[in-house]
Every structure is written in structure tokens, then in C-alpha cells.
């Protein structure tokens, strides 16, 4: 099975965020970038399928500016991906939904791709539309919020579950298709030191992103705001559990006004 996995560098979950000087975006200098959380699961799932289906290969693709995009591609190679393609964006415009999908699709289309995997959404802008947009661009079906993705060789179909608002859905689908992954079978593996060292010398194919269309929809950042720091919880003081319960219900009803 030819698997393509699309990944994105995002700020580490614990990083303190800071607005850029013009106040419109995140200041990318202020944070450390890592492989997005769901993308880690997508890489893990790609590698699990590669191990389960003989003759498979995993090609990792990312769109974004350097050096962080190149770094996450190398980290994916260190985890076990076979090849990598970097679609280099000229600037930090990755936040506009649709732009990344178009750039990724240009790189993915010429590659053999039975299965295109990505995380169901990235932890930075949380748009969650790349799988569907890739499906449209590649002319194949897409599925988001996928868990328990398996290949049934006898039926030549993918079998999987989706965790949607309706509940847990059971699906089967032929390839090719795009899958936005929520969870792999396992926790994402960590790379071993020799593989990390080797990945530094791996060849990464570089593809220009191509110019954006001169006219068309514009998605313009205006303001990036951080919430006031949380001051910590107001603690309920009490002598008995009953008193704690009464005080909390009163606070929820009269102060927070969220009691049903």
C-alpha cells in the first residue's frame, strides 16, 4: 500500500504564546515547533499499516516555511517514514484554511497514493478542513475523526470507525481515499537515537508551493489575542460534604449563572 501522510509543524502544547509585533498573528519566533499531535497519530497509523501490509511505503509531505517544516519532516523520517517531500511556502501564510490543502494536493497528486493520511486537525489553528479539502482536490472520498483504521486484504477495503457527534460509526471504503485521523491503534512511537542521526542526512525532495491565485477568497488575519491569565480556581471552603455541595450550587446559580 502506498501511503502518503501529511503533517504540519505546530507550536509545542506547553509553549507560552506571544502575539507578533503587529498584533495580527502568533509570533513564530516565540515558540518551539513540533509535529502536530494528531499528525503524530497519523504518522504512527501510517507506520502500523506499513508493518501490517507487506510491500507498503510511507511518504511524508509537509507544507510550510523553513526550517521548522524541514525539521518535522526529518522527525517523521526518524520515526520510520521512507521518503519526504517539503512544499516550501514563501512566508508564514499557512494559517489560511484551504491554502495548505491546495499546496499539499499539488505535491501529493503525482505521488502514488492509495491512502492519504493526516491528523484530523492541527493544534494551532484547529480548522480541521484539510482532509475534506484534499479529498475534493484529489477527487477521492474523505473521512475525518477516524479511529481504528485497518486494511482488510481479503475484501481489499479499509475498515474503520469514526468518532462523530452521532456516536461511533463503522465504515468501510475502497482506496484511494483521504483519512483525517483522530487516534492510531497505539500511542505514537518515539524515535531512536541512531534513526534520528540518520534522518539528518536523509534526502528531502523540495517542491515550490506555486503562486497563489491573484484573485479569489481572502482570509485575512486581523488580531491575535491571548486571554487574561487564569487566576486559579475560587476554592470552596467547607466543613461537611453537604456544605460544599450547597456552596457550589449557589455559586453556579448566582455567580456563574450556569446552573440548569
Amino acid at each position: 500500500m502506498e501511503i502518503v501522510v501529511c503533517v504540519k509543524p505546530v507550536p509545542e502544547a506547553e509553549t507560552r504564546l506571544r502575539a507578533s509585533a503587529d498584533g495580527k498573528n502568533l509570533d513564530p519566533e516565540s515558540v518551539k515547533f513540533v509535529l502536530a499531535g494528531y499528525d503524530e497519530s497519523a504518522v504512527e497509523q501510517a507506520l502500523l499499516l506499513k508493518e501490517a501490509v507487506p510491500g507498503s511505503a510511507v511518504h511524508v509531505v509537509s507544507y510550510g516555511p523553513g526550517p521548522r517544516t524541514e525539521e518535522v519532516l526529518r522527525s517523521a523520517i526518524a520515526l520510520g517514514c521512507d521518503r519526504a517531500t517539503w512544499v516550501e511556502s514563501p512566508n508564514d501564510d499557512g494559517a489560511a484554511p484551504g491554502v495548505a490543502a491546495r499546496a499539499l494536493a499539488l505535491a501529493v497528486a503525482p505521488l502514488p497514493h492509495d491512502l492519504v493520511l493526516c491528523g484530523k486537525q492541527a493544534g494551532d489553528d484547529e480548522s480541521g478542513i484539510v482532509a475534506a479539502a484534499l479529498g475534493e482536490l484529489l477527487g477521492v472520498p474523505d473521512f475525518s475523526a477516524v479511529i481504528d483504521l485497518r486494511w482488510d486484504p481479503a475484501a481489499a477495503r479499509l475498515k474503520f470507525q469514526r468518532a462523530t457527534e452521532a456516536g461511533q460509526e463503522t465504515w468501510e471504503a475502497p482506496t484511494p481515499c483521504v483519512v483525517g485521523l483522530q487516534q492510531a491503534w497505539n500511542d505514537p512511537r518515539t524515535a531512536k537515537l541512531p534513526a534520528i542521526l540518520k534522518s539528518r542526512k536523509a534526502t528531502i525532495a523540495k517542491v515550490p508551493a506555486g503562486a497563489p491565485p491573484p484573485t479569489g477568497p481572502q482570509n485575512l488575519p486581523e488580531k491575535f489575542e491571548l486571554p487574561p491569565p487564569r487566576t486559579g480556581a475560587k476554592m470552596v471552603e467547607y466543613q461537611t460534604p453537604e456544605e460544599a455541595a450547597q456552596k457550589l450550587v449557589k455559586l453556579l446559580r448566582e455567580e456563574a449563572k450556569v446552573f440548569p
Binding site: 456516536g167 463503522t170 465504515w171 482570509n219 485575512l220 480556581a233 470552596v236 455541595a245
Partner: protein, 327 residues
């Protein structure tokens, strides 16, 4: 300009979902907009009438049984001719998996500027201004979508459900069109409702009560469920609980589970790993109940109770029932 705003209906048990109703409310709040509805499925014609209950006088129905077990891409495909014939310039959907999947398709096929998880929205020259939490609620961004075509998925519970304003809804059944074979090949074979069934679904609920490792075992989870039942809340769980198999994965709130943003989130016996926090931090009010006063959950909570949950929970459930007049 009086834009035409098209609300795409998502169905559950043959009715419009709560998220769809919220989208209708937002559409009606856009000054001067003409609001129309769209719904696809085997019973689309009958369901489309429901738009009228909330003041929408015109709806399009793609009566097509092929939709029922097909991917969202099929609904997006059936929507295309309606986008043209209705003259819509804005598409609104509920911020569910369905809504995001639909907008991803429209971003390309309809060449729209799109935004998901939107909590505020206002018309601006040539488009819409939207505000949305990002980074798991750790930041908020404002963006201007300047385009002839705009698609927005609203964040669940960020907007109130619309008041009923019954009008007669003229339903136009749209002609059946060809659907590309690859989109029809996948099949949804079934849906398992979250166990515990009668309560609201996790992402639809305005109150969520979640249990964590502090519950100590599946045999004690009824304490969480009883509090949830008293509040009319959905039940969630931390990853520790679902990994241990005390509750199915579908209960998991957090980075690898579901992101929720209810009016009230009560975390019981959950220490507050960042993995969990990103899935619930944008809730309006957060309550933490934990025996460890230094648990990180208290840093993001609005109200905290340090104590033995095995004593606090029964007392709280009883007090909630009393306060709500339940016997």
C-alpha cells in the same frame, strides 16, 4: 447588499440537530440577510419543513437515499447546484464533524473563504469578520473573510438556539443529479450510540461531567453518571479512564478525544494533564473536584473543591436534585 445565507442542515434521527438550529439563529441575526435552508437524505422533504419552525421561509431538499450511508462529500456534491440556484453568498453550518467536512469541500469546490469553530461573526464590506478560539482555547484570532463566497462553521454552544418563530416553509425538492462513483463506494455500516444513551451527546451537551483516574475503577463511575443525570449533562472521561477500559473511547475528552466547550464543565478526579486541558479549556465555567490541592486542573478551573470525591459527589448530586426540584 442583502446576502442570501444558506444553512446546511445536519440530521439526527430524522430531525435537524441542535448545532443546525444554532446556525439558523446566527443566520437570522445577520442584518438584512435572506435565510434559506438545505437538507439532503432519504427523508429530506419532510425534514426541510422544520426550518419553518425557526423562521426560515424557504428550504431546498435533496431527497436522495444514497446520502444516508455515504460520506459527507456526497452532501457537498448535492449542495453545489443549490448554491448556484439560491444565489447564496454565505453558507453556515453547525460546528460538528459534518460541518467541518462540508466546509473543507466547499473551500475548494465553491472557492469559498472558510472558518470553523467561530464564536462571533459580523458582516463587513465584502464579506464577514469572524472570531474564533485557537490553540485549544489558549488564544483567540479575528479574521476577515473577504470573498464572494464565505463558509462558516459555528462553535457548538457559542450561540443560543433560535427562538421558535413559526412560518410556512416553502420546500423546493431539487432534481436528482449524478454522483461520482468514487464518492458512493464507501459505506457507513452502522452507528453505535454512546452508551448511557438517554443523555445528550458529549459535543452537543451544554453541561459535561467528566471522571478521571480519581474514580479508581469502573464500578465507581456511577457516581459521575448520577451527577450528570441530575444536571441533564453528558458524561465524559479523561484519557486515563478510556485507556484503562473503564469507559469506551467515545467518552474521551481531550487532545486525542473530543474537544468540548459547554456552558459548564465539571472535572471529577481529573488531575489536568495538558492533553485533557486542551479539550475542555474553552468551556464557559469549569469546576474541578479533586483530592489533591496542587492538581493542575485547579489552575484552569473557575471553582474548585478539594476533597474526597466519594463523599463530595453523592452530596452534590443530592443538592443538585434538591435545587432543581427533582424528587
Amino acid at each position: 447588499m442583502t446576502p442570501t445565507v444558506l444553512v446546511v442542515g445536519e440530521l439526527q434521527d430524522g430531525h435537524l440537530t441542535g448545532s443546525t438550529l444554532e446556525a439558523i439563529g446566527v443566520a437570522r441575526s445577520i442584518g438584512g440577510a435572506t435565510v434559506v435552508g438545505f437538507v439532503a437524505g432519504s427523508a429530506a422533504k419532510g425534514t426541510a419543513v422544520e426550518f419553518g419552525r425557526f423562521g426560515v421561509a424557504k428550504a431546498y431538499a435533496a431527497e436522495d437515499a444514497r446520502v444516508d450511508s455515504a460520506p459527507t462529500a456526497v452532501t457537498a456534491h448535492l449542495l453545489r447546484p443549490v448554491l448556484e440556484s439560491s444565489g447564496a453568498s454565505v453558507v453556515l453550518v453547525g460546528g460538528t464533524t459534518f460541518g467541518r467536512d462540508l466546509l473543507g469541500r466547499l473551500a475548494i469546490a465553491w472557492n469559498a473563504a472558510v472558518a470553523t469553530g467561530v464564536t462571533e461573526l459580523s458582516p463587513v464590506e465584502g464579506g464577514l469578520r469572524v472570531r474564533r478560539p485557537i490553540f485549544g482555547g489558549r488564544a483567540t484570532e479575528t479574521r476577515r473573510l473577504v470573498a464572494e463566497r464565505v463558509g462558516v462553521a459555528i462553535r457548538p454552544h457559542a450561540f443560543p438556539s433560535p427562538t421558535e418563530a413559526a412560518v410556512t416553509c416553502a420546500v423546493e425538492v431539487v432534481a436528482t443529479i449524478e454522483i461520482p462513483a468514487p464518492l458512493l463506494a464507501p459505506q457507513r455500516l452502522g452507528v453505535a450510540r454512546p452508551a448511557g444513551g438517554s443523555g445528550p451527546s458529549l459535543t452537543d451537551a451544554s453541561i459535561v461531567v467528566s471522571g478521571g483516574r480519581g474514580i479508581r475503577g469502573p464500578e465507581n463511575f456511577h457516581l459521575v453518571e448520577e451527577l450528570a443525570a441530575a444536571l441533564g449533562a453528558a458524561v465524559g472521561a479523561s484519557r486515563a479512564v478510556t485507556d484503562a477500559g473503564w469507559r469506551p473511547t467515545s467518552f474521551q475528552v481531550g487532545q486525542t478525544g473530543r474537544a468540548v466547550s459547554p456552558q459548564l464543565y465539571i472535572a471529577v478526579g481529573i488531575s489536568g494533564a495538558i492533553q485533557h486541558i486542551v479539550g475542555m479549556v474553552s468551556s464557559r465555567t469549569i469546576v474541578a473536584i479533586n483530592s489533591d490541592a496542587s492538581a493542575p486542573i485547579f489552575k484552569v478551573a473557575d471553582y474548585g473543591i478539594v476533597g474526597d470525591l466519594f463523599q463530595i459527589l453523592p452530596a452534590l448530586t443530592a443538592e443538585v436534585r434538591r435545587a432543581r426540584g427533582l424528587s
